[in-house]
């Protein structure tokens, strides 16, 4: 894919997020910083999916939260449609959030157990004062229908549904304001394989139908590969490699990316024999530096 002549939908430049490490009883002071995100830059074009992979603690989710300003970056610039987000005030940011939504990992923890499915999906519309009560409820039914959730169940509560169905509710809520960008933070890692496939297919269909742009964050390299046009690899807060998906996977430049890819077990016993030998070699090479 060549560089698009248009302005990218999202531009992240030199993003830095440090968390203080505090110590001391009574008089706490900051003794150090954890560099959760350390000088990360990337762009996402409209309609594109950028996959963000890395192991736990690599800073991939923190990056996603900073993009949406759910965490305040320590420094760096985040521009959405050319508009700088890091300097926006509360009210302006609230307006911008219409355009940018998130789907969380855990469909058990991310839905309020005391709200009905209908209220959960309608909440963003209420918060942004969109529509009347009546046309909001028809919008909710439409949204649930789009994500393959029976709109007849709007008066039920989240606990009555399985993980896959709950994730559909979460996606319907994310779609409610017709956003341009959705940050998907490990959207399928809590789901069984057969259900995972349903949700990945749904996300692909929605992207086609609504021209959505995804920042797709996951630790599963195969899942990320199946969703992404381009892939960025993070390790210890740094973005170490970024490029078109086929290229990064077929000919990774960095040793860390190679080690990561070689560690993925694939459902092919004969190919695994070779992969196992290769990954042992690579691990020894890395250990010896």
């Amino acid at each position: 894919m060549s560089a698009s002549p248009k302005q990218p939908l999202l531009e992240v430049e030199n993003l830095l997020k440090h968390f203080p490490v505090r110590s001391g009883i009574l008089i706490e002071r900051t003794v150090d910083h954890v560099k959760a995100v350390d000088d990360v830059s990337f762009e996402i074009a409209e309609g594109e999916t950028l996959g963000l992979v890395g192991e736990s603690g690599s800073g991939k989710s923190t990056t996603g939260y900073c993009v949406l300003q759910l965490l305040k970056p320590t420094s760096g610039s985040i521009r959405f449609q050319g508009q700088e987000l890091t300097t926006l005030g509360r009210e302006e940011l609230r307006k911008m959030r219409r355009e940018m939504q998130i789907v969380f990992q855990d469909p058990y923890a991310s839905l309020d157990p005391r709200m009905t499915v209908g209220d959960i999906v309608a909440e963003p519309l209420v918060v942004h004062s969109i529509g009347t009560k009546k046309n909001r409820s028809s919008r909710v039914r439409e949204l649930l229908d789009v994500v393959g959730f029976d709109p007849g169940f709007t008066n039920r509560y989240p606990h009555e549904f399985s993980g896959g169905q709950r994730q559909r509710i979460g996606i319907a809520r994310a779609l409610a304001l017709s956003p341009k960008l959705i940050v998907c933070d490990e959207p399928v890692s809590a789901l069984d394989v057969s259900i995972q496939a349903q949700i990945l297919n749904l996300l692909k269909d929605l992207q086609q139908d609504f021209g959505l742009t995804y920042l797709f964050i996951a630790h599963d390299l195969a899942v990320v590969r199946s969703m992404s046009d381009r892939i960025a690899v993070m390790n210890k807060g740094k973005l170490i490699e970024i490029g078109p998906a086929e290229e990064v996977y077929a000919s990774p430049r960095e040793d860390y990316t190679k080690a990561l890819l070689s560690a993925v077990p694939i459902p092919d016993p004969r190919a695994m024999k070779e992969r196992k030998a290769a990954r042992r070699k690579l691990r020894h090479a890395l250990a010896e530096g």
Binding site: A197, S226, V264, I266, P267
Partner: protein
């Protein structure tokens, strides 16, 4: 004689909402030194099968309602709790998914390893500690002697799983049951732990039951595979035959649902999703458990009226379905491998 033979095992949970048939007639055998992979999704009964073998199911609500678990010819289901304690840890050891919660946070790892050794062997404390250091070295924990008096929180997830493996190995068991041993670990750590398990299994001539939801993990580690669905075995074969020629519609669908890391058209293609959801084991489908989600079940056949038997469709390949791949209309003659 097989090392372990499970015959027609059924473990049910008797709850207020009804009887949950978590494991419903499971049979398999495992030879000494071999690895059996048990794959299935959540609720398929794979963990309850393992816990039933170990006599670790919570009674009540659970109960083994039928079946035998023959370990070297001895039926473990008939043993008293006291007799079972001599088997657990010594003859059969088990490691669990979550290394964060399966170690006691208030005891040093040295204490936790020596406690197992001294439960089964009458050895002085110092000798047990020496053995513990050797075990930690064997699972490749750096500076093993210094780490013996550390508490579990000082170890990372991968290192804790290594400690668990050291405890499991401490009495040289003949069988190791590993229940999702790498699910909580990062992919590079997972690879290292699986490689370690491989080496140890060979060095100790141990048999292993590897329980996982990950088709890739069984593909790399198992000699034979059992696929479970809704508390039953739906397919059983050698690892190569299962991946080369899967017969059960569920196994086929599961393989189709996996995203691939290499190949053509990955980004634009769709995965084969399995419609619907796994059966409710309080009230399972009356006949074939997979029938409601099966693309081949139709009104004219017996899928909804008769439970298919687990039958041997070719040598050492067993399947429980009325519609195995090789019997479907238009099935191709298999190419000899």
């Amino acid at each position: 004689m097989a090392l372990l033979e499970v015959r027609n095992l059924a473990t049910h949970f008797f709850t207020r909402e009804g009887t949950v048939r978590a494991v419903d007639g499971v049979s398999f055998a495992l030879e000494a030194g071999k690895t059996l992979g048990i794959v299935g999704e959540s609720g398929s009964g794979k963990s309850v099968t393992a816990l039933s073998i170990m006599g670790l199911i919570p009674i009540p609500p659970a109960k083994i309602v039928s079946g035998d678990v023959l370990f070297e010819g001895r039926d473990l289901t008939k043993l008293s709790e006291k007799q079972l304690e001599d088997v657990r840890g010594r003859e059969i050891a088990m490691i669990f998914q979550d290394p964060m919660t399966s170690l006691n946070p208030t005891l040093t790892i040295g204490t936790q390893i020596t406690e197992t050794i001294r439960r089964h062997y009458d050895v002085p404390k110092q000798q047990a500690r020496k053995k513990a250091v050797e075990l930690l070295e064997e699972v490749q924990i750096p500076r093993a002697a210094d780490r013996l008096d550390d508490y579990p929180h000082r170890f990372s997830g991968g290192m804790r799983q290594r400690v668990m493996i050291a405890i499991a190995l401490s009495c040289d068991p003949k069988l190791l049951i590993a229940d999702e041993p790498t699910t909580a670990l990062d992919v590079t750590v997972q690879a290292a732990v699986l490689d370690l398990l491989d080496d140890l299994r060979q060095a100790h001539e141990m048999a292993m039951i590897l329980i996982t939801h990950d088709m890739g993990v069984v593909a790399e580690s198992a000699d034979d595979i059992v696929v479970m669905y809704g508390g039953q075995i739906v397919e059983q074969a050698s690892v190569n035959d299962l991946f080369d020629r899967p017969e059960h519609p569920y196994t086929e669908a599961l393989l189709g649902a996996l995203p691939q890391i290499e190949g053509e058209g990955i980004r634009t293609g769709r995965l084969t999703a399995i419609p619907g959801r796994p059966p409710d084991l309080k009230n399972p489908p009356p006949a074939c458990r997979f029938a409601p989600r099966c693309p081949y079940a139709n009104a004219n056949d017996t899928c909804a009226t008769e439970m298919p038997e687990l039958r041997e469709i070719r040598k050492d390949h067993w399947v429980r379905t009325a519609h195995p791949a090789c019997e479907r209309a238009g099935a191709k003659e298999p190419v000899p491998a």
